[in-house]
């Protein structure tokens, strides 16, 4: 077939096909190889017993194993997967709402036309840009059971020293006993709340991500028309009404965005737990003590890095994380977005 393309048609073809292809090629190849293909590869690996390379095709055995480790062991304690889901739930529920609430208050204070806005904002933001390893090790040092500042402060107030990151005891019974109320061991584990160690990691996480939330909310607040607020104030709205009727509805798209982004990030938490529970030379390893800081990503890491030959199972767990995150995000869009006020 002798097609004689005129110069014009050839040039057109160049502009419409080859040039865009050339400009997009590096990105599409890299995204395809390292972002899209991995999801399929992960699904494939999860059907194998896989060490450094594929060893044996075992079908859905890795997924059956997830269900086996979901339920309780003979002693009544949950298996590793069940434990990691519980810890992840504590972690997400304990950090995301608290971070957004605290950030909302701080952003509103900063929005009250304060002087020194820039340095104050920077102060709140610095933990966020500092590497988790450096900031985390600073916390490990603050919480050192022997000579840390946290225990020195407790001592100054005549309170007993704590083990902090080494303490696997759940926090709710502990608080109850301080208040002089008893606690029954018959109650289910999730009511006892996160361990003291996990609570410390959660406090770190709130501290670490607060600046991000403050900056985002502050940006949302500055877009609110001051006339709306002025009008409400003229109508005699008090500050509670101002917050609930004016400010929150008007920044709700921002808050919703933050909720989605923070939940996704918090589901994936690995670095802070890795550093706080294995850094500084006295922790027993990521997920310690007694697996009470074992989030799902930490469990994946454990199977991938510390246990030879369980890459296939790690891949199955990755699929679980992927599906969970997708589900949570969709749910948030369904339920939360209805309450969001868009202009």
């Amino acid at each position: 077939m002798a097609v004689d393309l005129s110069i014009r048609a050839r040039r057109r073809r160049m502009e419409r096909i080859w040039l865009p292809a050339l400009y997009l090629a590096p990105t599409l190849v890299l995204l395809g190889l390292f972002d899209i293909y991995p999801i399929f590869l992960s699904a494939w690996i999860s059907l194998w017993r896989w060490g450094i390379k594929a060893e044996e095709f075992i079908g859905f055995d890795n997924y059956t194993r997830i269900f086996e480790e979901l339920g309780s062991k003979p002693g009544g304690a949950p298996g590793e997967v069940g434990q990691s889901l519980l810890v992840t739930a504590f972690y997400v529920l304990g950090t995301v709402p608290a971070t957004i609430a605290i950030a909302f208050v701080i952003a509103n204070m900063l929005n009250a036309r304060v002087r020194f806005l820039a340095p104050l904002r920077t102060a709140y933001f610095i933990p966020y840009i500092t590497s988790t390893v450096a900031a985390g090790l600073a916390f490990v040092w603050l919480l050192n059971p022997q000579v840390g500042v946290a225990n020195a402060t407790l001592k100054a107030f005549g309170l007993p020293a704590q083990q902090w990151l080494l303490d696997p005891e759940p926090v709710v019974p502990k608080l109850f006993s301080i208040a002089g109320i008893g606690w029954s061991d018959q109650l289910p584990a999730f009511l006892a709340g996160p361990s003291v160690a996990l609570t410390c990691v959660m406090v770190f996480s709130i501290w670490n991500t607060l600046g991000f939330a403050v900056v985002i909310i502050l940006a949302g607040l500055t877009t609110i028309d001051t006339q709306v607020k002025e009008a409400a104030r003229m109508d005699g709205a008090n500050s509670w009404q101002m917050a609930t009727r004016i400010t929150i509805p008007l920044v709700s798209p921002t808050l919703f965005f933050l909720l989605v982004v923070s939940t996704i990030r918090s589901f994936q938490s690995f670095n802070e737990i890795f550093v706080l529970t294995s850094g500084g030379g006295y922790g027993a390893g990521a997920g310690s003590p007694l697996d009470t800081t074992l989030t799902l990503p930490v469990l994946i890491f454990r199977h991938l890095y510390e246990r030879p030959g369980s890459v296939g199972f790690a891949a199955a767990l990755s699929m679980l994380l992927f599906v969970l995150l997708l589900g949570v995000t969709l749910l948030q869009f369904r339920f939360a977005e209805r309450r969001v006020h868009y202009d």
């Binding site: 920077t122 590497s131 900056v215 005699g236 965005f257 670095n271 890095y305 891949a315 995000t329």
Partner: protein, 322 residues
């Protein structure tokens, strides 16, 4: 009850007198001003206290890094070092097996090369999406954006397997078997993070904001897409370009999990891993550990202080990290 109603009456009366405040007695005006000022003082106190809490760990880190071994283990602790031990920094710098210099250079290499590649691929892709007409333009762009939804942690396991199977690298044959591929190499550390939907999105938005007239004008002079991109668009969208560079650099400097999985030799590992292994080896020597921690934290913080306005603007415009 009675007191409350009186109080309410008073509030009502002050409220109703507000519009006429200028003509009313100066004392009530002064009272209002005094109350407002007190409110401001409380506001500043709260904000300052909050900022102090946020910054205290850093203060304590630096303060501890300048103490002697005896002083750092003192109970109760001292707030400031009695005699600042600057030599701690030199000790920490040389302490790990290959010294911190090696880790710093590794991080610098990964950050500079990774960020440059990310910028280059991001620029060309964003240009194609913003300025070129071709089939599937929108569909491809949506697919690129959708990759932002794939959680990083879900890609760790397959990417670990994948980089070992890259053909013709690390002793691999054409089918990617036989060797270790890109495992434990700089390329393996860098490549998976190069293409970034965030960077492409940000640059595309910036390019689209430039009016078409510029393109028509240079087109008349016979300029190519390539010339237009480098001579006109990039200089005009410098803020967006710099934002991509900042985020890319900081994300790589702070990276922990991927290098941990993708490497095993200390000689190519980045600075965050160097700090972790240092903390495992010398964990009980907290004055040295805090000196090392300060050394790792400070460059990032100083870098941020110089560029924070642009950084925060970029963040608020797109609200994504990395």
């Amino acid at each position: 009850m009675a007191i409350q109603s009186i109080a309410r009456d008073q509030r009502d009366s002050t409220d109703s007198s507000k519009p006429a405040a200028r003509t009313s007695t100066p004392s009530s005006d002064e009272l209002g001003r005094w109350r407002r000022r007190a409110g401001r003082v409380i506001l500043y106190l709260l904000l300052a206290a909050g900022a102090a809490i946020m910054l205290f760990p850093f203060f304590w880190m630096v303060s501890s890094s300048l103490k002697t071994f005896q002083e750092v283990n003192l109970s109760p602790p001292t707030l400031f070092p009695a005699d600042p031990q600057w030599s701690n920094y030199a000790d920490a710098w040389t302490a790990p097996p290959s010294g911190f210099a090696r880790y710093f250079l590794n991080s610098l290499l990964v950050a500079v090369v990774g960020t440059s590649l990310q910028l280059f691929t991001g620029l060309t892709a964003a240009y194609a999406f913003a300025r070129m007409k071709f089939r599937f333009n929108n569909l491809l762009f949506v697919i690129v954006l959708a990759t932002m939804m794939i959680p990083f942690e879900a890609k760790i396991v397959p990417n670990y397997v994948l980089i070992r199977q890259i053909p013709l690298t690390g002793g691999n044959d054409l089918l990617g078997a036989g060797g270790s591929g890109l495992y434990d190499t700089y390329a393996g550390m860098i490549l998976p993070g190069v293409a970034s939907a965030f960077a492409i999105f940000l640059l595309r938005q910036a390019f689209m904001a430039i009016p078409r007239d510029y393109w028509d004008a240079v087109r008349m002079d016979g300029a190519s897409h390539w010339t237009f991109l480098w001579r006109v668009l990039i200089p005009m969208t410098m803020p967006a370009v710099l934002t991509v560079v900042l985020f890319g650099f900081l994300a790589r400097w702070n990276e922990l999990l991927w290098p941990l999985i993708a490497t095993q030799s200390e000689s190519i590992r980045p600075v965050q891993l160097g700090l972790m292994s240092f903390s495992g080896d010398e964990g009980s020597l907290y004055h040295l550990l805090m000196a090392a921690t300060t050394l790792v934290a400070i460059p990032g913080i100083i870098f941020f202080l110089f560029v924070q306005r642009r950084f925060i603007e970029g963040l608020t415009a797109f609200g994504v990290k990395g």
